[in-house]
Amino acid sequence: MIADFVSFYLMPGIVLGCIYALGAVGLTMLFGILRFAHFAHGDVMTVGAYVAFVGVGLGLSAYQSIPLAMLVCAVLVLAVDRAFYRPLRRASPIVLLISGFGVALMLRAAILFFFGPDGGVYEQGIRRPMVFPTEWGRFRIQERHLWIIGGAVLIALALHLFLTRTRLGKAMRAMSDNPDLARITGIPTERVIAITWAIGAATAATAGVFLAIDTQFNPLMGMNMLLPIFAAMILGGVGRPWGAVFGGVVLGIAEELVAAPIWGGEPLISPAYKVGLSFAVMVVLLIFRPTGLFKGQS
């Protein structure tokens, strides 16, 4: 019972949560620096997943393709920033929002154009889980799940060290805290923005590859991620990287657990509706606590 619960609900929930966390952390950092809800973030995830697909085609493993996906997405997003967002830096939030939406459509159309609508998987066939028989039952754990969790933890730690130990990372927090004061202080704000884009794109790319490793990739995967990663960002308090990580993991676990047959063998809600959970969380938060659990920007 407990083994089934952990194997089939808790572990997949943590994995999904890690993927959400990687998506939400970039989103929240970008919002902190630019006050800009980046609607194309999900499609950057999709691009990352497809770059890794190309990497797999070149003979790399999906995991080995992650640095490639990070690099390509960072360069792509910096180019997009230069071409579309930077000229609009002082435009109203609505204009930026729409431009983000436009970029999202462009990225999606490019994926459809080059790879078609079908999607796929990196590696055919079914992988057997590792089985750990214990006195509480047989725990079945997918090896890929351990890699995804490990990778997400590693990235979160690296990001934490960057933000707390390096000059540029501290400048990023300073700018997120008070952009006007950052300028007055002589912090090179455009450089901070560029680094934030690069980090946001790299984490989104990783999230996309992880999601495709865990399930599959298709041109709409990122768009479907958009709602949960926005909800995760808001849950953790906008502009707070650790809040976004927390929000992502909580949402991922919650989505799987509401479908678990914990109470008398019946799931709390039908698994078909579990994606609605993010939406419900977001609505409730925006009504009752719009700054999130950890007091982010409103």
Binding site: N178, L181, I184
Partner: protein, 234 residues
């Protein structure tokens, strides 16, 4: 030799000009204070010097360099530091990190500079790991001034550094301004507490409707009956 020379500037926030030909001069090693009624353009003048308000006409020179309408994020490179009146610390960063940010445009290790700030403001040394947002108003003002001084600026602009502070902290801030000045940094300050500010000022300007009204030494302004009647509550 003058550190700052503002010559007949006009400008504002896009509508009617708030600054209507104001001029001032800060000589090396001086404390210069700007006083005047509300709406006289005191803070606007400071912002114009720092490139935060568009100057339509007139010139601003820092030493030998023309800095008129230079972008604010370039001012640090020219050795000009500005402490706004409000929202002048990074609230989520620690005291120490706030100071480190002030060093951003300089090269090398910030250690010597931070130690200098901690010796200037011993209150901060004990709180260096605390988020600046958790400090009292007076201590925040010290962090803000410390952050600006990390640049080792030629000139520091202070916009109402004692606004909203308790009398005890007010005295501390004025005393520290004097100490900062004695260590060689010129100070240009807008102040509501005119009497105390003029006591430490070498020179003062009375600004009214965006132009100079009176311009004299700090001591003479304190003794001037017009000034006393208007601003010193005597």
């Amino acid at each position: 030799m003058s550190v700052l020379e503002v010559t007949e500037i006009f400008g504002g926030y896009g509508g009617a000009d708030i600054l209507q030909g104001a001029s001032l001069r800060v000589a090396a090693g001086q404390v210069v204070v700007i006083i005047g009624p509300n709406g006289a353009g005191k803070s606007t003048l400071m912002k114009a010097v720092f490139g935060l308000v568009r100057v339509r006409q007139g010139a601003i020179r820092l030493g030998a360099t023309a800095i008129t309408n230079l972008a604010p994020d370039r001012m640090a490179q020219h050795g000009l530091a500005y402490v706004p009146q409000e929202r002048n610390v990074f609230v989520s960063l620690s005291v120490h990190e706030n100071l480190e940010m002030g060093f951003y445009s300089r090269r090398g290790s910030p250690r010597a500079a931070t130690e200098r700030i901690y010796s200037l403001f011993p209150d901060l040394a004990a709180k260096r790991k605390q988020p600046a947002g958790s400090l009292s108003g007076g201590q925040r003002q010290m962090v803000a001034m410390g952050r600006a001084l990390m640049l080792d600026p030629q000139l520091i602009l202070l916009d109402e550094p004692t606004a909203g502070l308790s009398p005890k902290y007010m005295d501390v801030i004025f005393e520290r301004v004097r100490a900062i000045n004695e260590s060689g940094t010129a100070v240009l300050m807008v102040e509501q507490n005119a009497r105390q500010a003029l006591k430490i000022a070498h020179h003062g300007y009375v600004l009214q409707t965006g132009r100079n009204r009176i311009d004299d030494t700090g001591a003479n302004l304190l003794a001037n009956p017009d000034v006393a009647q208007m601003f010193l509550g005597a």
